[in-house]
């Protein structure tokens, strides 16, 4: 289990409460769940890295507990009660200087310090859909939700928000435009914040500019946008909606650069790799997909049997070079460990990479991605 968890480069949380690790190099997916007792109230709502070295994954569950999972050891190391089910599900989790920041749907944002029992508590308003931490300034968090505009908070001065977004002007019928912020992203190397809404709009705000209204607004599709992610290359943003449409939008003009095909169900989690042009998406159709952002082709598709809620990518290189990649999939079935870990069935993956091709550059991946889906998959079925 330790070796398995160390090889996993993508972590996915499901509705059944199981934390799944996917290792693209080994072409396997593993379930890491505690004590074989699954229940729906352990549904994973948020996943976040516990530390910058990515050795710990923080799992926020629907019943209010936050569990820490160590990727080195492959087990859950601790569990913390951070609220209860009455406050709603977790909408965001962050680590700041050793203290844990949690935000629930009811708007209660709490900072839990290590060892102390006192917490800083901020009420950010009801109906929160998302809380995100600024990766460059770790003490800033942004929250937004249904009829809850984007607010940026500095946790060192928790009494008032640093920036509260103003709603756009009334529309052409002079009606108030409703607000529903579904996901937030901080644009690196600048102050700007991009949000996607349930009314299929994508908005960019600039707190350093005097205007509190969005600097840029773009629309995509007709369905609520549920997830957003910023790729390593500047100037674009990837959004997903409830219909399973993933699109790459341009941040300069607000136009659609392209769509990523393949998803059949609503997108719940989206994350771009910090350095490579890859994006991982998971959703209600029970598949984890990795697309390449350069040619918008599907690189990997993994069937993970439950509906997936959130995805977390590690910053290390996801795919190792061709030598240890093979089309064959092996069965790994192990007995449950004494501490209650059970490694369960891996999944057959639709592999696209070529066995013989030593060039593990994007070109190889591209050319194989085109041929890949047409190949007959070799599946060792039990």
């Amino acid at each position: 289990m330790a070796s398995k968890s160390q090889s996993c480069s993508i972590w996915v949380g499901s509705e059944t409460g199981i934390l799944k690790g996917v290792s693209l190099s080994k072409q396997q997916a593993f379930n890491f769940c505690e004590m074989s007792c699954l229940s729906r109230d352990q549904e994973v709502c948020v996943l976040e890295w516990g530390d910058p070295l990515e050795s710990e994954v923080l799992v926020g569950c629907a019943n209010g507990t936050v569990k820490a999972f160590s990727t080195e050891k492959g087990i859950f190391t601790e569990s913390k009660e951070c609220g209860d089910a009455t406050q709603g599900k977790f909408t965001g989790l962050a680590m700041m200087d050793g203290s844990l920041v949690t935000c629930a749907e009811s708007g209660i944002l709490k900072v839990w310090k290590e060892g102390c029992t006192d917490t800083i508590e901020i009420n950010v308003g009801n109906g929160v859909c998302r809380m995100r931490q600024n990766p460059s300034r770790r003490s800033q968090v942004a929250t937004g939700g249904k009829e809850n505009p984007l607010k940026v908070w500095d946790l060192e001065r928790p009494d008032k928000a640093i920036f509260t977004a103003k709603n756009v002007k009334n529309d052409w019928l002079d009606l108030r435009v409703p607000v529903w912020v579904r996901d937030i992203g901080f644009i690196p190397d600048s102050d700007k914040i991009v949000t996607c809404t349930g009314y299929h709009q994508m908005r960019v705000y600039d707190p350093s500019s005097p205007q509190r209204r969005p600097v840029l607004e773009a629309e995509f599709g007709e369905y609520p946008l549920t997830a957003l992610s910023l790729p390593a290359s500047q100037g674009t943003v990837v959004v997903g909606n409830t219909h399973g449409q993933l699109a790459v939008l341009d941040l300069r003009k607000g136009l659609v650069r392209g769509c990523l095909k393949g998803l059949a169900g609503g997108v719940r989690g989206l994350q771009c790799h910090p350095t490579l042009p890859l994006v991982a998406s998971c959703g209600l159709d029970r598949f984890l997909r990795v697309h390449s952002l350069e040619d918008r082709s599907l690189l990997h598709k993994v069937y993970l049997k439950s509906r997936l809620n959130c995805v977390l990518l590690s910053s290390r290189n996801l795919e190792l070079s061709g030598a240890d990649l093979s089309g064959e999939v092996e069965e790994v079935k192990q007995e449950g460990e004494e501490d209650g870990e059970t490694d369960e069935v891996w999944d057959a993956m639709e592999t696209v990479t070529d066995k013989t091709n030593k060039r593990a550059t994007e070109k190889a991946a591209e050319e194989n991605a085109v041929k890949g889906p047409k190949k007959r998959r070799k599946v060792a079925k039990k």
Partner: protein, 313 residues
């Protein structure tokens, strides 16, 4: 020279095809002749092969199985393995668990789109005789989002809305009520009772048995459970009625029969009740909310229908 040419058999020049003859009658005649020749040759080949097979007797190679689209179906990785614990847990705690744990009984509300015309109205009535404990209500132009909370308060578990287009039913929204998934189907080939040949008398009030065929993938399982939850738990075998949902190539065929065992091996069946085919268009999590709801599965024609051998249910 003339004698020579007459002596040779009148032969067509090579590279000649029947379609080059300009005269329609002669062309037709030549084509018929060509087809007959082909058939004759095929029969001869068949006879020869049969003789060879009989001659070999036991050593004959096994008969080849003809390829069908169902045989050649691309293996779907979401096919449910019966021993899979995770899927079993998922199904055990999903929205239908209250039905399958016998905590609730189904109660179905059948309605249509606004101002239904003859065929649809009769279809709804016949459907309500096939599904026990179902009630048909006239849709007085009411919004579904307002109908649903009222249904929940009155204890309904299912809402069926038959959509009508040009006096013919063409769509069905099947919504599981407390908070359950909503499936949207395309309905085609609707046959009402009087259009069916050799049908039996009208269905009785007994609960029918339910047969769900060929729902193999995870999505298929969800839809199959949805259909199963429409009918009461315990079928009354006295009624000898059976409702079948047969999935083939992503089309779901609904049939309603009455059976009788003539002896231990022979069964006679009479078809009663309406007959229709369904094709799943989308499965949405939560009750009906086409704009803001999250979809678990949406049929995307250009991506999903590119291969003739790939099916999703």
């Amino acid at each position: 020279a003339k004698a020579d040419s007459v002596e040779e058999e009148a032969a067509f020049p090579p590279n000649f095809s029947v379609s080059e003859i300009k005269n329609k009658q002669r062309r037709h005649f030549m084509f018929m002749k060509l087809k007959q020749e082909k058939r004759k040759r095929k029969l001869e080949l068949k006879k020869k092969r049969k003789k060879e097979r009989e001659a070999l007797g036991d050593k004959a190679p096994p008969k080849e199985v003809p390829k069908t689209i169902e045989n050649q179906r691309i293996y779907d990785e979401t096919t449910v393995n019966p021993e899979d614990e995770e899927v079993a847990f998922d199904e055990g705690t999903d929205e239908f668990s209250s039905y399958f744990n016998r905590l609730t009984n189904p109660k179905v509300l059948i309605t249509t789109s606004d101002r239904p015309r003859g065929r649809t109205v009769r279809f709804c009535e016949q459907l309500s005789t096939a599904v026990p404990d179902s009630h048909v209500y006239y849709r007085r132009g009411l919004a579904l989002k307002r109908v649903i909370p009222q249904c929940i308060s009155r204890g309904f578990t299912f809402l069926i809305v038959i959509n009508e287009d040009r006096k013919v039913p063409n769509g069905m929204v099947l919504c599981h009520l407390p908070n359950g998934p909503t499936a949207h189907f395309k309905v085609s080939s609707v046959r009402l009772r009087k259009e069916m040949k050799r049908r039996g008398k009208d269905p009785t009030e007994h609960s029918p048995e339910v047969i769900l065929n060929n729902f193999t993938t995870r999505l298929g399982h969800s839809i199959g459970r949805m259909f199963a939850a429409l009918f009461p738990h315990d079928p009354q075998f006295i009624g000898r009625q059976v409702a079948t949902f047969h999935n083939q190539r992503d089309f779901i065929f609904f049939r309603f029969h009455r059976y009788i065992f003539k002896n231990e091996k022979k069964v006679g069946i009479q078809e009663l009740g309406p007959r229709f085919t369904l094709k799943l268009r989308s499965l949405q999590k939560g009750t009906f909310d086409s704009k803001y709801g999250e979809y678990e599965w949406v049929h995307k024609r250009h991506e999903m229908d590119s291969s003739r051998r790939k099916f999703h249910l």
